[in-house]
């Protein structure tokens, strides 16, 4: 089976490197942010013609430094921004369709590097160079109350990501580790530390079940981690009745420089990675072999992933900083990417039998 990525459209407008892109929960809007301290919102001109897009909004003026990361609330009404100016911005769409900065969250000592909304929309997490992860509760009227400041990472926290359904948070750090955070009776604590990468972990993403996690690192590998619950049938030892995350697969040799981003499609399960070697790669899980299925051990064997498609020079000579799959069935084959060339691109992932 052959597969490939073809470009649908390139979106130009940013005047500096683009650090991140984020599809709104319904996929109707693509947001991008970067070194020019703005957020841009992009939509296709018509549903019939996905090769023509316009920039409908430029959100600017609230951050004094680079906007590193953006995240939509699950209802798509709010957008949050993490900036090197140490602030997290909350933007809300009003009735006329305009976006207004309705709150700025202060607390981090310096660069805020990522922000993420929980699936329920009631929690927000931020992280930054001050090595901390903050959990915020979203109360009514755009009031955000800090519930917890988690300081167990020993270096910058590069990224955070909520579990797709549970109130469980994963964080990736310059200290080469990933940490899993859970809540017990209003107390947030680190329930597991995932060690194995040899350098900075830049990005993480869950699969749709939340039982697997993929991580991307400066060590040029992708690692897949699986959650094992207490008394699991595989006999993986768990501590203090906490689930234990174990690395079940490492993909190396596919990127020649740091991997900055990874996205796991919640629709079709393919994994895309973007790297400082200018390439985007797409991986797919192998079908379990017939013999293992016959032996009735499918599902308990360790997964393996194969490269199915690549684009070299996805952003010309520039690093690929972020990739993200379209969130819903409608255009699940679309992948957005952000590059150091200041351009956002949308690709179509084509699989041919």
């Amino acid at each position: 089976m052959a597969a490939y990525l073809e470009q649908i459209v390139e979106l130009k407008g940013h005047t500096d490197r683009v650090w991140s892109v984020a599809w709104s929960p319904t996929g109707k809007v693509l947001a991008s942010c970067g070194g020019d301290k703005t957020v841009r919102l992009w939509v296709p001109v018509s549903d019939a013609n996905p090769s023509e897009w316009i920039c409908t909004h430029v959100l600017e003026g609230s951050h004094k430094r680079t906007i590193r990361n953006i995240s939509w609330s699950p209802d798509g009404r709010q957008l949050s921004t993490a900036s090197f100016d140490a602030l997290t911005g909350i933007w809300e769409r009003d009735e006329s369709g305009e976006f207004e900065c309705v709150a700025t969250l202060e607390g981090h000592e310096n660069e805020t590097k990522a922000v993420s909304w929980s699936s329920s929309g009631t929690l927000l997490a931020t992280c930054g160079r001050d090595k901390s992860v903050w959990i915020w509760e979203v109360t009514s009227d755009n009031d955000f109350e800090c519930l917890s400041v988690l300081q167990e990472h020993t270096q910058d926290v590069k990224m955070i990501m909520w579990h797709p359904t549970k109130e469980l948070l994963a964080s990736a750090s310059y200290d080469d580790s990933i940490k899993i955070w859970r809540e017990d009776d209003d107390d947030w604590y680190c329930s597991d530390t995932l060690e194995g990468h040899d350098s900075t972990v830049w990005a993480i993403d869950f699969d749709k079940t939340g039982e697997y996690l993929v991580s991307a690192s400066d060590d040029k590998t992708l690692k897949f981690w699986r959650c094992y619950y207490p008394n699991n049938q595989e006999g993986i030892v768990t501590v203090r009745n906490e689930p234990k995350w174990k690395c079940v697969c490492t993909l190396s040799g596919y990127h020649q420089r740091c991997i900055y981003s990874v996205s796991w499609s919640k629709v079709h399960g393919c994994i895309a990675s973007g790297s400082g070697d200018n390439t985007i790669r797409v991986f797919k899980e192998d079908e379990p072999s017939i013999s293992s299925t016959l032996n009735g051990i499918s599902g308990t064997t360790t997964p393996n992933f194969s490269l199915v498609a690549s684009i070299s020079s996805a952003h010309g000579i520039a690093d690929v900083n972020r990739v993200q799959w379209y969130p819903t069935e409608e255009h699940s084959d679309w992948l957005a990417s952000a590059g150091d060339d200041g351009v956002v691109r949308i690709w179509r992932f084509v699989e041919k039998n």
Partner: protein, 171 residues
């Protein structure tokens, strides 16, 4: 990266000064003079770009302090790779990160964008070699550092002599 810049005390008060070797200057060949032949970027060119950067704490160039040397510059033009090893004057030099940052910024501004640049402390020449290397090659940290106006001023000051490319500097 910024805190080190603010210390006023000299880290290495009496550095050894090296005389730049004359032979390290490029001798123009007939090929170089031809306009229709595209000059490849080579180690000599990259060394010329960084050799006259001023050290953050002495009115001396990185070449005069033997921090940078031609032999420690590796260039692969075809693969768009540049790798630079530099040697801090003393193993506990707290200026190492700043020196590396100056080299990075100089190359960001003067090399064609297609090049991917790795900057490392030469093996065994600094006590926190790994930490310095990691920081210098983390582009997010570099980007954040360059948004710090005070730090950027210091870097620009060090780079103000870079254009001399090994020629005597009139200060």
């Amino acid at each position: 990266m910024s805190e080190q810049v603010l210390t006023s005390k000299l880290i290495n008060a009496n550095p050894t000064i090296y005389t730049p070797s004359k032979t390290s200057h490029r001798v123009l060949t007939e090929q170089d003079e031809k306009e229709d032949i595209e000059d490849l970027i080579d180690a000599q060119e990259v060394f010329d770009l960084i050799r006259s950067v001023t050290d953050p704490e002495h009115p001396l160039t990185l070449e005069e302090l033997n921090v940078t040397q031609l032999e420690h510059v590796t260039v692969n033009d075809k693969d768009n790779r540049v790798s630079i090893e530099f040697t801090p004057t003393i193993p506990h030099c707290s200026m190492a990160t700043l020196i590396g940052l100056c080299i990075r910024v100089r190359l960001l501004r003067s090399l064609p964008e297609r090049f991917k640049v790795d900057i490392m402390v030469r093996k065994g020449t600094h006590q926190s070699e790994q930490a310095v290397n990691k920081q210098l090659n983390d582009k997010e940290r570099v980007a954040a550092a360059l948004e710090n106006t005070h730090l950027l001023e210091v870097v620009n000051q060090c780079l103000s002599t870079a254009g001399f490319r090994g020629e005597p500097i009139i200060r």
